[in-house]
Amino acid sequence: MLKQIEGSRAMAEAIGLCRPEVICAYPITPQTHIVEGLGEMVRTGDIKNCEFINVESEFAALSVAIGASAAGARAYTATASQGLLYMAEAVYNASGLGLPIVMTLGNRAIGAPINIWNDHSDAMAMCDSGWMQLFAETNQEAADLHIQAFRLAEELSMPVMVCVDGFILTHAVERVDIPKQVDVDAYLPPYEPVQVLDPRDPVSIGAMVGPEAFTEVRYLQHYKQTLALRLIPEFAAAFKSRFGRDSGGLLRSYRAEDAELIVVAMGSVNGTIKDTIDEMRADGLSIGLVTLVSFRPFPTAALREKLVRARNVVVIEKSLAVGMGGPLANNVDLALRNVEAAPQVHSVIAGLGGRPITRASLHRVLRQALEQPWEGSHFLDLNEKIIAKELHYVRKVRRSGPTAENLLRRLGQAADHAVV
């Protein structure tokens, strides 16, 4: 049913249609509206046979989900930013134990400096934790990916994070087709666990494993994600035949088949990039886009196939691995490893801490990539003036004070005393 609806509400309704049995979450911006919606639907009985458990922290939220999943329940939770970091130990436990929990991540920057706005730092901090990570471009896809995520998670008995841009998607009101219960029931079979804590048939889950088998446990975890490279497109195709729309999959390309320059990006920024590409194509420029949906597993072969004929690849990402550069760009490099006459990869770091990524800035940086490609990371719309001033200041003054506060003062946003 088509609805004009807030993204968070659409996701809550889609998650409800998946018949979760245990939902536990601790509120954190910008994920809050999703679990508020779910809490309300459990209370009103719109979601049946489900327990909503209020917990005291994110660590508890995921720990309760782990317990529920091990007891054979379909378990769901959601978090963002510092919340994900606070549950980090449990994040690794959920995947290490092979428990098919689905978690929404309302992507948000990580402090310090504290920042509630969108970027992909949180997802990147946990990208090697053994969870699969799927990134939504629109709220329609955000809703749809949750349905596919439960199927994927339970098929492999591995947890899945659905990554959704905080505010940009979670707080946007737009058109979403909410599936029918009968279709979701047909698509998503009841959860049949591969391991259950059951007093009638006791087992132990979570044994200590020494050097004799630890590598093999990890290898099998990795092997399951390689299986997911086949299952994710299969489940997206099955989704399309039942619901009639393209959602999910490993990746999608847009006007990229003959393009000399291909942009690679994840999440909601792909819409703005598509509009920019249309304008640049109208100007006769040879440019296209590959939208990565699955970051873990990383679709190395599929991505290589899409990129290999281009001359230049520009990776636009909302994350920074400090001291290294763009983590997505690094992964894209991997897809082109050992390829003869591989395209050049150029990295753009953009949208950190919620800075808008505008068409105007994309035009500028993509034209530069066509005319004067660069090495290393390009920071989109970097305010070089205040950086130069700050660098000059800290060279001159030993007790230069806290960086963030200095920069805010330079911008006139915290005028308790002036820095020179």
């Binding site: 946007a172 737009e174 068409r359 105007a360």
Partner: protein, 190 residues
Amino acid sequence: MFQVRIHGRGGQGVVTGAELLSVAAYLEGKHAQAFPSFGSERTGAPVVSFCRIDDKEIRLREPILEPDALIVQDPTLFKAIDVCQGLKPNGYLLVNSNRSLTDLHLETVAKELPAGHVVTVPASELALKHVGRPLPNAALLGAFARLTGIIDLKSVIAAIDGAFTKKIAAGNIAAAAAAYDAIAGAAAAA
């Protein structure tokens, strides 16, 4: 694509206004995207929300930098921030006030835009009268429908009806209709 930016203060229903506008457009079969300015909103602080309306899918996710229309819920904002930033040369400016454009020092702005595109409407007073609280957003949407013709008053009324309980909806619908008529009257006089 028609792009609307709403300026107001926390507590005035700035975000709800954009959402209602998007629902009204959706009810007419259009694509619409409403989103807030993502600030740490607090009561009284300047707040911005956005709404895009189009006949095709809206993919763009940047803030609205060049609006076709501005709705200003609190005229004191003109002194605090550059409200009119990026407004298109043929754009619309709708201001919640019972004062004239001269009183609000908006004559210069009005001269740069087509005749009749800058209008004030006493939305807070209409809301106070019909809803009992000075929440101007629904009334402003009624005025917006008349001023721009982008959406029908009927769609605004349907959107309000779907968003609130019966009594609150009825008051807001009356305020929206009154604001619509007030603009119609002003246009006839001009």
